[in-house]
């Protein structure tokens, strides 16, 4: 049986990076908008 660990790890890491970046960008943008608005 071939070892496919690299493909599985890459899929999960990539998902975490993309969604994590989106969360951070959303928080950063909300913070910036809130600051400017105050």
């Amino acid at each position: 049986v071939k070892d496919y660990t690299a493909y599985i790890a890459a899929a999960y890491i990539l998902t975490a990076v993309v969604l994590g970046a989106l969360v951070l960008q959303s928080l950063w943008r909300a913070r910036a908008a809130g600051k400017d608005d105050a």
């Binding site: 493909y7 999960y12 993309v18 909300a30 809130g34």
Partner: protein
Amino acid sequence: LNTAAILSRYANPGRFLALAKWLLPVSSGVAALSLAAGVYAAFFASPPDYQQGETVRIMYIHVPAAWMALFVYSTMAIAALVGLVWKHVLAELYAKAVAPVGAAFTFVCLTTGSLWGRPMWGAWWVWDARLTSVLILFFLYIGYMALVDAFDDEQRGLNAGAGLLLIGAVNIPIIKFSVDWFNTLHQPASIMRLGAPTIDHAMLAPLLLMALGFNALFVSLACLRLRTEITLRKRRSREVPA
């Protein structure tokens, strides 16, 4: 409450902000818990597939991401229609706010699919109906974001974007039924089908947990980003006196 009553109730941004105040922490908590439980179940509480072996674990992110890609676009298209017909402020801003979220889920769907396809199909990519129609969906998200930002007048951008969303909505049933209409390498539906799911319960549980997590994450991001859009619009309306 009927649909029209709900629509008019949340046309008032103040009411949405009050809703988002408690919904955001609740959905964020649900997202964190269900994603943690889902990842645990995906790796430690579900068996390898009898044909695909361990690579089936990619399914637990690939399939929920695909569902979200379609779901987010569908909600954007409905919001575009509501925005165009009833000049519903929140509906107009909603599509703009969640477009990057939908694009991110579509990107995750495409890339995890590729990482699953290479070991199982022997190809990173094939130009079959399912993969190509999802790639078009990704371009629709990107195109919408570019189009909305291309106008100096925000309202004109939102209207043009809404038009694109409505035209692009024809792609949604094409994606869904592409695996039935065309001879594709991609497998047909196992869960969202008439009749019972064809997937084993041991694999269905982590899949549904991850789907719940992605949905809750989407609700959180939608609340957060829509709140930001409301703040930015308020500021712009102060800067430019009507």
